[in-house]
């Protein structure tokens, strides 16, 4: 166990030294990996933020049904009975037009305007929660309600959020595809740097074999090199995404506020950050493994 640890310790130190021995090469490789990983990572960051917006909007899975302004009260009473027995409706509440008027007068400070109007401009309305919350079911219910007599307007409050969510799911697929492609790129980068490392270290590898080094002894520093390079590349990607978040936060906030949305960009959360680093290290390891198999077995 101690020997195992000390072997890995030595290999790690050696890998760090080799990284430090060619600082320009190392920095360029890290930058290439960083940029490659930053693209899907930034996509993930944006999606996570937008998804939060939709989730904040999502509790309002309500359907608002506005009756015609001239609809008599019995119509509303009829509808109340129909809604009570409707299998697609979980619950509902009735908003009489008088209450709406009073509410608007008090809350919105529109008292003067409303007082100036000859009659109550607000219709009777129902706000109902559907039993089935899937977008297509909600659309069907809304379509049915629109056909009821004296119904003037049916509004799906969460409709836009649902459509955005569907769009985001599409975006997520795109991010995964991008991540897959650039992951292959990372493996290629790692493959190539390890190939160059093997060429540079050829005398040392040959000498070590002559002195009785095991395959593991020879391979370990390369594996550490590949993993460290991937990890540091992942770290630079993380920093790039963090920087992007900071730069974009102001403009995005401003843009979102134009649509009445509160959106303050957050950096990648802990789990995504860890996943990014682990993925980067893992792909570095994979590239190393393929490269060593190709260039070290003789």
């Amino acid at each position: 166990m101690n020997i195992w640890l000390s072997h890995h310790g030595q290999a790690l130190v050696l890998a760090l030294r080799r990284l430090a021995a060619a600082p320009v090469n190392t920095l360029l490789s890290l930058l290439a990996i960083g940029v490659a990983l930053a693209l899907p990572a930034a996509g993930q960051m944006l999606l996570a933020n937008l998804l939060q917006v939709t989730q904040r909007a999502a509790p309002a899975l309500e359907i608002s049904v506005f009756l015609a302004v001239d609809a008599p009260r019995p119509t509303a009473t009829d509808m109340e009975a129909k809604l009570k027995n409707h299998p697609g409706v979980k619950s509902f509440r009735f908003l009489p037009r008088e209450d709406t008027l009073a509410h608007m007068k008090k809350e919105a400070g529109l008292a003067d305007v409303i007082d100036a109007l000859p009659k109550n401009p607000f219709p009777d309305a129902f706000v109902l929660l559907p039993r089935d919350e899937r977008p297509e079911a909600m659309e069907a219910l809304a379509a049915e309600l629109r056909k009821w007599p004296k119904v003037d307007h049916v509004q799906l409050d969460a409709g836009w959020a649902r459509r955005l969510e569907a769009l985001l799911r599409l975006g997520r697929t795109g991010v995964w595809l991008l991540a897959g492609l650039l992951g292959v790129g990372l493996v290629a980068i790692s493959f190539n740097t390890i190939r160059l490392q093997v060429l540079t270290q050829r005398p040392e590898i040959e000498l070590s074999r002559l002195l009785g080094a095991s395959d593991g002894f020879i391979r370990r520093p390369f594996y550490w090199f590949g993993v460290l390079q991937g990890l540091l590349g992942g770290l630079s990607a993380w920093l790039l995404v963090g920087l992007t978040t900071l730069v974009l936060r102001g403009p995005v906030e401003e843009f979102a506020s134009l649509y009445g949305i509160v959106l303050s960009l957050r950096p990648l959360d802990g789990i995504s950050s860890l996943a990014l680093l682990a993925l980067a290290a893992g792909l570095g390891w994979l590239g190393t493994a393929i490269s060593l198999r190709r260039h070290l077995d003789d």
Partner: protein, 218 residues
């Protein structure tokens, strides 16, 4: 310690002519000092390489400590080599590492604990008179010093078998005598020493095995 039984070695794609070694049988006992003598191309290096399993014989068997080294698996070869001190004809020093690290390499390979390794590296460097320069790079050493560094690396994990291929080539006579004296010292503390050299006069007390065009001289 070492036994060659009708050993032949022919390199693949070699020019027509005698084999590098043909039908060589010999024995080297424990704690012996043996000189393999012969002109260039006589097969001295090949003989040493067969002992360390750097090459495999094309005929016959090579036994080292009772093991048929021509039939060893990769991992067993590694173990064998960890127990043999090797001084190469071209020294094979690592020029991007200082003296201390060059000598430490075999101990790292064998997995020595750092403290013990440090102690042994210093002892080995001291033995060849290079302790004061442990931080120097090999390029800063003279030819004789580089040879002594190679010896320090070969003996640092205290093998009981030391193989040296032309360790005094390219050295002036005084330096060559110094280097030969180091090998003699190791022999005196019980190490089996096999030296391939064109100049057997440096080891007058050693048993001499003569080679000519791959065959033993009787």
């Amino acid at each position: 310690m070492i036994k060659f039984d009708r050993v032949s070695k022919r390199y693949p794609n070699s020019a027509p002519g005698p084999d590098a070694l043909s039908n060589v049988s010999l024995e080297i006992g424990e704690k012996e000092l043996v000189v393999i003598a012969g002109h260039s191309g006589a097969g001295k290096s090949t003989l040493l390489k067969l002992i360390a399993a750097i090459e495999r014989p094309t005929g016959g068997t090579v036994l080292v400590r009772g093991q048929n080294v021509g039939a060893l698996k990769r991992s067993a070869i590694a173990v064998l080599r960890r127990n043999i001190g090797l001084v190469f004809q071209d020294q094979k020093l690592l020029f991007d590492r200082n003296l201390f690290e060059n000598v430490k390499l075999p101990l790292s390979i064998a997995g020595f604990p750092p403290k013990e390794a440090e102690r042994r590296v210093r002892a080995a460097l001291d033995k060849v008179g290079l302790l004061a320069r442990e931080k120097a790079m090999p390029i800063a050493l003279s030819g004789g010093e580089q040879q002594r560094l190679a010896i320090a690396r070969a003996v640092v994990n205290r093998p009981n078998l030391l193989l040296a291929d032309e360790p005094t080539a390219h050295l002036d006579p005084d330096t060559a005598r110094d280097v030969a004296a180091i090998f003699r010292d190791f022999h005196q503390v019980g190490v089996t020493v096999v030296v391939a050299t064109y100049d057997a006069t440096l080891f007058p007390e050693a048993r001499r095995i003569g080679l000519d065009h791959g065959s033993l001289l009787s």
